[in-house]
Amino acid sequence: MTDRAGESVRYGVTANIRGFDPVKAGDVDSAVAISRIYEGLLQYSYLARPYRVEPNLAEALPDISPDGLVYTFKIRKGIYYQDDACFPGGKGRELEAADFVYSIKRLVDAKNSSTGSWTVNDKIAGLAAFVEASRSDVPTDYSMKIEGLDAPDRYTFRIKLVEPYPQLLWVLTMQYAFAVPREAVEYYGDKFIYHPVGTGPYVLSKWRRNYSVEYVRNQKWKETGRIEKYPSDCEPSDREQGLLDDAGKHLPFIDRLVDYVVTDASTQWLMFVRGDIESSGISRDNWQAVLTEQFGLSSGLSRMKIRLFTAPTLDVYYLGFNMDDPVVGTNKKLRQALSCAFNTEDWVKFYNQRIVRARGPIPPGVAGYGDSASPYPFDLEKAARLLDEAGYPGGVDKVTGKRLQLTIDVGSASSPEFRASQELIAGFLGKIGVTIKTQYNNWPTFLAKMERRQCQMYSLGWVADYPDAQNFLQLFYGPNSSPNPNHSNYVNPEFDRLYDEVKSMVDCPERTALYRKMADMVIEDCPWIFMHHPTSYGLHHSWVGNYKPHDFPYGMEKYRKVNAQLRTEWKREFGRSDWRE
């Protein structure tokens, strides 16, 4: 953990990553790792909000045909892959349009079992035949022509869709569609996950499995004169934060990145307060020692110049009803009653305010979010009335005279905190006389149960793939029912009609209005009890510059800065001091 002279190094923490194959990693840490080395046509804006896409390897945003079906990208000239043994003479070659054709074919190749094939499957013209052919035992034929994937010349890449799919732009920022050189895949074979060969700002220098990953600046950028600049379009508040000081300067700033695989939270914390790593989350054990009651930083930590960043996330957590279930599925009033019984205030309190109450399926910050009051807020009187109308006055079945008992399936029982939260939910719903039985499963069993539609109610969350309400509303689309991701098996013909209509619309006020309308339909029908959106809390040391929280933090290391001198001084001053004082 020592710097070489004159070098700026950033030390961080990562979970165990799943290799460097862009099509094979679905988790955040692997995607972050991959996006340091590989790049895609598009990327997220770093500072500007609401989120938008901007060109990365493409020269500009694509030309889209008026019918919304053909996307034509011009690819930047003079982008080179890093030097690697897989290329003739070991010299990285220039990026070309055919690389994208190849990379997307790789993504949908059934032999790769990619977690990301959903991003383009059934959307690009002629892709299905390729996917079908790739299922056989013979090696996949990548020379097969696909109508919708085409490189008419060296720098033009064209995608033809079967139906309009405006989310394509979001999807192309994800690691799944990053440019992968065919030479590397063929040269390394099944070792390709250890040997990334990309165009990005960094190259992998050392990977000690289960221990650390190291990256160094990609020298090819300097050699080929590739220039990337720090952005200047931003939110007004960014200027005061000093986030614009480097606007227009050449990227990346940091020479070397080192990430350690530290699984234990308390170890991670000790390393952070010693200054060995640059950032840390806050574990529940530490919560009270780190934050004041007003959710500011404790005095010890602020004295150590540690900075706290909080940001809402685009995740939604919910209790789903299985609409196939004869008890809860057919009884809308019952679902509404249970929604009204869910005590959001106590729930937020239980989580130490680390969450924001959810009103509907769309999180705040995404177009289509409505902040009007929910028609089914926490209201025990209303809940009791609805329950009565549902045929269960006081929680007792009118017909059989038996108390209503519902089962909630959950996918883990690991932490005491989680168990306590489940008991809290049972308590909420018990207030109106409904008995709740919580069924603890391990994760695979839970998944299988949902897939087979065997749950009555289940507790689950959804993490946004891109900041578009469609990503959330698809969870209520009839044809997406289990085993696909609509695990509530919610089917509403009117909703499905609107979804079909809206899914081909580009971003415009009408679409947002429709999103809102669809969200309201879901809120009215209550296939879910909407629980919360988590808030992320992160701590950073003072010597890390240009940090701004982002929900999709991929490829953003290049904007960050490390002040090594500041770190040395800090270590001298605070390296031995106690953070609790």
Partner: protein
């Protein structure tokens, strides 16, 4: 040894196949579709029957019983679900044809079997009942099986080939007259032969010395094992050897000073050491020796210095029980006749202790040592995770947490093989240290 090995392989296979597990769903994440999970199953042989049999499964339609709900049949128009007068079932009313709701098109040129537990009865007010299971494709009916009207539930099954034209196959229940009730539907895909199973798939893998691929890390399990052994051993071997020496020396001291204050002190010490949890040593050691006093690094695996703290913690936490054990062994020997004889002969106390007792105490010591050897390979779960030693222990913990069954299975299997070998080694060592035992 061969039968033991076979037993281990079968047991590990059964253990990890019968725990509820869905690798495809785990691996492919939240956006997974039935189709993509099916591809994954095909690649790993998970669509095959577990041990033997003809019928495997497909995700196009998984077996359903209608006890609690209509499952995928909710989507089929006209179908009702009821529990009236019996257990849950779906009701297919008169005069309709109801297609089985497949999640995706069936694979081509494969044999499938649909099995239904049904009751066909006349609709009140009309006479007779007739219904059949019909399999058809674009060119017409492929197979059709008549269902029999009866009072109780009966079973029917149809086997058919899906043909070469994808997507054209439709399986439906045609109800011409009467009401058809179905309690259960099973659906299977034919394996290529009777033993074409997951077990065979696993055995073939093992024959190639392949332990499969980790779901969590995407790496070959063999590579992971190879990479993890050295860090694990670099921690456990020094810890083990040093721990053994320290405890044997201390136990000899106890024997030398038996029934004196020194002996008592060691007994009390060992009880104290035993009663403190392993985890406490780790947390305290890391906090005080590593963080507070800066004697050692808090975390990492860079040089020998980084191994010192976990080693010390490992030795200290194991010392209590080892000391108790070896002290008993040594004291046992001191009461033997040969010790009295040796003393009578005029051998000094020190001579008896090192020349006679230590040598004779070797048998229990060797047993204890060799039993511990297989555990060296699995490393120390907690120490490795806390101190960032990239060994098999930390790997095992991660695999357990993420239900990465291929990795756990490989660890268990290799562990048991080493255990077997160690057992053999114990026997050989007995012969070396005890002249009364002969290998035959």
């Amino acid at each position: 040894m061969i039968p033991t090995l076979a037993g281990i392989i079968i047991v590990t296979f059964i253990l990890f196949n019968y725990v509820p597990n869905d690798p495809a769903a785990m691996k492919l994440g939240k956006n997974a579709t039935a189709r993509s999970k099916e591809s994954f199953d095909l690649k790993r042989g998970l669509d095959k029957p577990a041990i033997c049999g003809i019928w495997g499964k497909t995700r196009a339609y998984s077996d359903t019983d209608f006890k609690r709900n209509a499952g995928p049949w909710t989507r089929v128009e006209g179908v009702r679900w009821t529990t009236n007068g019996g257990s849950g079932r779906i009701v297919l009313p008169d005069g309709g044809s109801y297609a089985v709701p497949f999640a995706f098109q069936l694979a081509t040129t494969n044999e499938f079997r649909i099995k239904a537990r049904y009751r066909l009865s006349a609709t009140p007010g009309s006479k007779g009942a007739a219904s059949s299971i019909v399999v058809s494709n674009s060119s017409g009916i492929v197979r059709s099986v008549e269902l029999e009207p009866a009072d109780g539930f009966r079973d029917a099954s149809v086997v058919f080939n899906s043909g070469t034209n994808p997507g054209s196959i439709v399986v439906s229940f045609a109800v011409e007259k009467g009401t058809l009730e179905i309690g259960q539907i099973g659906f299977g895909k034919k394996a290529s032969h009777f033993f074409d199973s997951q077990l065979l798939f696993y055995l073939r893998q093992l024959a190639r010395l392949d332990f499969g691929e980790s779901l969590e890390t995407n790496q070959r399990v063999v590579d992971m094992l190879k990479r993890g052994v050295l860090p694990s051993l670099s921690l456990t071997v020094p810890m083990f050897v040093a721990g053994l020496m320290v405890s044997i020396v201390m136990s000899l001291v106890c024997a030398y000073f038996r029934d004196t204050a020194v002996d008592r002190f060691f007994v009390v010490l060992s009880v104290l050491l035993m009663s403190v949890n392993y985890l406490v040593w780790i947390v305290l050691g890391q906090f005080f020796l590593g963080f507070q006093w800066r004697w050692f690094p808090v975390w990492g695996y860079e040089s020998l210095r980084y191994l010192a703290l976990p080693c010390i913690i490992g030795i200290v936490s194991g010392l209590g029980s080892d000391l108790r054990f070896y002290r008993t062994v040594m004291l046992d020997e001191t009461y033997r006749d040969y010790v009295r004889t040796a003393f009578a002969k005029g051998v000094s106390k020190r001579g008896v202790l090192f020349g006679h007792i230590l040598r004779n105490a070797m048998i229990p010591v060797v047993t204890n040592v060799i039993i511990a050897i297989p555990f060296l390979y699995t490393g120390s779960l907690l120490l490795e995770s806390f101190f960032g030693i990239p060994g098999l222990g930390a790997m095992g913990v991660n695999a357990l947490n993420s239900a990465d069954f291929d990795v756990i299975r490989a660890l268990v299997l290799v562990g048991s093989v080493i255990f077997m070998v160690a057992n053999l080694a114990t026997d050989i060592c007995y012969a070396l240290v005890d002249p009364r035992i002969r290998l035959k």
